[in-house]
């Protein structure tokens, strides 16, 4: 089933958190031909740096951060097999074209709603870069996580003119 820009869907499965510093490191590793701490093939990255996890909770507040800051690294990650990204806000023209080229999808989720989104996260596991604190890569298992398709695999965007 093809998904179109503008579709509202829910996702159940695995996501990997990564934001600014993790992107910088992943991109450096790809450029230098080093082994990645996470095989990006078929994966979905969530631009998210959660708060500390309260006692007894799975995760803290965990909404999306601004996607455009990741734009410079994204085409490289897509080339390495990344299939999806979740964040907030618009993307560069270059990213949109790379999404089309590699048949990936860029999704939005409710921005500034980290407490609400925490309810959809069932498991959390550290994958890489613990020294980055909230910017470490975590594997999240989510159930019915709400998404809006912002750029589909054909490069169509929900944002006008982009």
């Amino acid at each position: 089933m093809a998904i179109h820009a503008g579709d509202e869907i829910v996702y159940s499965g695995k996501l990997y958190t990564a934001r600014d510093q993790a992107h910088k490191r992943l991109a450096e590793a790809i450029t230098k031909g080093k082994k990645l701490p996470l095989d990006l093939k078929g994966k979905i990255i969530y631009y998210c740096g959660p708060t500390k996890t309260p006692k007894g909770a799975v995760i803290g507040s965990c909404g999306p951060t601004t996607s455009s800051r990741m734009d410079v690294f994204t085409p490289l990650l897509l080339k390495a097999g990344l299939k999806g990204m979740i964040g907030k806000g618009s993307r560069s023209q270059e990213v949109r074209l790379a999404i089309k080229k590699y048949k990936a999808v860029y999704y939005l989720t409710f921005a500034g709603c980290g407490a609400l989104l925490a309810r959809y996260v069932k498991k959390k596991r550290l994958v890489a870069y613990p020294e980055l604190g909230p910017e470490a890569i975590y594997e999240l298992e989510v159930s019915d996580f709400p998404l809006i398709v912002a750029i589909d695999a054909k490069g169509r965007s929900i944002y006008k003119g982009k």
Binding site: T66, K88, L108, G112, G114, G133
Partner: protein, 281 residues
């Protein structure tokens, strides 16, 4: 002379840091409710409802409203007849932030060295101190998220610039913030002073209740606020930038005398999670 223990400051700041991050300001919540009532765009309504539900969950679960618990900005108004005993005021504030952020399971988003980054920590805060008359100590914590802080701007206008030029600049800053900075926004504007002071005024403007301004004091400024709010809400940016009437919840302008040669204007954008908590003692 009134003595206030540094430990009182520490514990108040710790409480305010958590309060601000868990409980959305009542004026902001009311403005979101009003925006939902006005909104006709189906998707925008859904997003506004999620934002209101998020505030409810955060408050009930004592969970941060947003994972970006901000760079804490602390406004200190200290009476000239107050003496802080038992330690440094600045240290007490930073320790209070550290305590509040740790106990509240908030986020360690602060890195010591801006160029070389490093391990994120909870503090230090940005501290703005103002000496006032009397024996009161007034503390305000504003955790400022950086998605919106990144979109803030300042411009030094010619003193002959007209109000239309200034309005155009302010609206331009909002357009540029677009879908990235978590609309619906609150737009704080600082006009006058020096370049740095205009920025501080813009930040302070975010502390004012967004619903009403005593229009009898500065009717011409409140008219500009109202007309800016109207124009910004015609931009059709909408919640999350996906269109709708709710682009802005409020515009607040603070002014200060300035130099004959200049007219600084600063715009500080806040996301819809405009958080601040205040205590007077």
């Amino acid at each position: 002379m009134r003595e206030i223990e540094a430990e009182s400051v520490r514990s108040i700041i710790a409480e305010l840091a958590q309060e601000a991050n868990f409980a959305l300001r009542k004026d902001v919540l009311a403005a979101l409710g009003a925006a939902l009532k006005r909104e006709t765009n189906v998707q925008a309504r859904k997003i506004l409802s999620a934002i209101i539900e998020n505030a409810d969950i955060a408050n009930n679960d004592r969970l941060a409203l947003c994972q970006d618990t901000g760079l804490p900005v602390v406004f200190v108004e200290i009476g000239q007849d107050v003496h802080i005993s038992g330690g440094s005021l600045v240290r007490a504030i930073n320790q209070g932030i550290q305590r509040g952020y740790t106990r509240g399971y908030l986020r360690n988003s602060i890195i010591k060295q801006p160029l070389f980054r490093g391990r994120p920590e909870f503090s230090p805060a940005i501290i703005h101190t103002e000496i006032i008359s009397g024996e009161k100590l007034k503390l305000t914590v504003l955790p400022k998220g950086f998605g919106c802080e990144n979109k803030s701007q300042v411009k030094m206008f010619n003193p002959t610039a007209g109000i239309e030029e200034i309005r155009k600049f302010i609206i331009g800053v909002v357009k540029n913030a677009g879908p990235d900075a978590c609309p619906p926004f609150v737009v704080g504007v600082g006009i006058g002073g020096t370049q740095d002071y205009a920025c501080l005024l813009a930040k302070k403007a975010l502390l004012r209740k967004i619903v009403s301004r005593p229009s009898s004091i500065t009717p011409c400024i409140s008219r500009i606020e109202e007309s800016l709010l109207k124009d910004i809400n015609r931009l059709n940016i909408g919640p999350m930038g996906l269109g709708g009437k709710a682009t802005c919840l409020g515009v607040t302008i603070e002014t200060y005398p300035t130099h004959i040669a200049g007219l600084p204007v600063a715009v500080n954008i806040s996301c819809h999670a405009l958080r601040s908590a205040r205590k007077v003692f």
